[in-house]
Symmetry: none
Subunit: 317 residues, 2 copies
């Protein structure tokens, strides 16, 4: 497996003692303490620490209570950091879970693709021996929006299927195993030639609503759309209409807008719309993967080496 590593120099000044606070106290903390200590760090209070590992993606509002002037590194737990963006400053290095969950999320994307193409979403609901239907992923044309860790992992998982793979990203740097890399400007050109769209990019003002009525209309009617990124990448009403009018053959959504998707929402009503409750990585999968990253980053922090998953504050991810 490949890993999406964003490297950034914490300091050119060499090693540190490794006094690290892990806050707040919750079910994740124990695994993170173990990982930190395994890497040679010492867990202490925020006041004593020179760095902070934040264990609560669900509580951004508590973070300012724990960040101290002397903290030169703050590690956030998830890959998506929208709720923390306003708190980031240039006085220290901020890192996040970028790339940590990529293989788990890519696995979920592939699971949704295969379930939809193979008709398993329908067969799961049936209690009768139905007529055969479904189509192959083999030799399909897959379009991945985003060129980060999820894309890299998914490309490697798609490799045995002989798919032709296009990635849309900000830079045209080649990606191993992918047939072409294009800019966002080329999206509308490639959509009519696409069997499977996978949304796997960061949510920014540029990418919000990237899947809209016009673009859903450009897809062939046998195409499916998968979203493992953020619900707001897709304009929900437009997706509902596209499913209603059979502009596309199905959708697999691990994220929705609104999220959680309320009971009774139109999207629940489609037999060809698979909705999962943001489980690209479940808490159980995630804590194991996060602990690995924390161990690696604490070791790097102590040694004064580049950290993994550093946030580019200007870019917003």
């Amino acid at each position: 497996m490949t890993e999406n590593k964003t490297l950034q120099k914490v300091t050119p000044l060499g090693s540190r003692e490794g006094l690290i606070a892990i806050e707040p106290d919750n079910w994740r903390k124990e695994a993170l303490i173990l990982a930190t200590e395994k890497a040679g760090g010492t867990v202490c209070s925020a006041d004593e620490a020179t760095a902070l590992i934040w264990s609560a993606p669900e509580n951004p509002e508590l973070l300012p209570n724990f960040v101290r002037e002397q903290h030169d590194w703050v590690q956030l737990p998830f890959a998506g950091i929208e709720p923390f963006l306003a708190m980031l400053d240039e006085r220290r290095v901020w890192s996040c879970g970028k790339g940590v969950y990529a293989s788990a999320v890519a696995e979920h994307a592939l699971a949704m693709i295969l379930s939809l193409k193979r008709g398993l979403v329908s067969y799961s609901k049936s209690e009768n021996w139905e007529k055969p239907f479904g189509s192959n992923l083999l030799n399909s044309r897959v379009l991945i929006l985003g060129g980060g860790g999820i894309a890299e992992e998914l490309i490697s998982m798609l490799n045995p299927f002989g798919c032709s793979i296009t990635v849309i990203r900000k830079s045209l740097l080649p990606i191993s195993g992918c047939d072409q890399v294009l800019y966002l400007d080329d999206l509308d050109v490639v959509l009519p030639e696409t069997d499977v769209v996978v949304v796997a990019l960061a949510l920014t003002s540029e990418t919000e609503g990237i899947i809209n009525r016009e673009r859903l209309g450009l897809l062939p009617s046998h195409a499916i759309v998968i979203n493992v990124a953020r619900g707001k990448h897709i304009i929900t009403t437009d997706l509902v209409n596209a499913l209603k009018s059979k502009d596309i053959a199905g959708a697999g959504l691990d994220v929705t807008d609104p999220e959680p998707l309320p009971a009774g929402h139109d999207l629940w009503g489609f037999s060809n719309c698979l909705i999962t409750p943001h489980i690209g990585n479940t808490p159980e999968m995630g804590i194991a993967l996060l602990a690995q990253r924390i161990e690696e980053n604490v070791a790097r922090y102590i040694a004064g080496e580049d950290l993994l998953g550093c946030i580019d504050i200007g870019a917003g991810y």
Copy 2:
């Protein structure tokens, strides 16, 4: 993708004109004409042709009406050729669809594995934002019963997931990408260390009922069982009981005993049992895969090269 290729020299005497008959006329014929012409062949009547492509697996009895003395090659459509066996002669080369459909069946097996492990079978039925659950295929221990084309394709599809893979087969010849190859005698030893069992072997007196009460009991309770071979490989009553008593975590069955599975059968009642109606390859998938093989074989025939999928008349397949 790997391909199960059985090679045989048609003739050492070099190229031919490529006058090929495709009979009888049915829904498959158009795709086979396209494939033949794409490879440089000319489709003509049986009397004019030097080779025959048979388009009707369901009509072996019509074949003798179309085979001519001058035909030096006859291509049959399916991998299983039992109904044609009596008609084969040594005066020409006979080839069939051996290996053509393995990748489609392996794809279906992977789809069922991922659907069960990722909880998609349950989520497909839900109309509410449920609690997160599911587990990764990543790093799992997979046991494949059978070492043929389906196993080879599945192993290549599992490769990016970092699984440890054991194959049970008749010979201990190594299989690329698999961690160990064992005899049937070792099955009971490896079952307790298995997360995913895939049944993908031929049905013989030796393998009928290979998955029974004792063996289901040897699996860990989080294990899942997939059958893409024949329904009679699993003793259905034993599987029902194992699901009832939660000896295993789920099953994915593309084949059943009895088949079709009648409405009201116990197996329909389990939320963790995914049943699909023998669609490892559907007719639509099959014709696309067969067309690829025909294109390849016609090109080889014209060039006087070895053909794929030649039948060993003595062995009967």
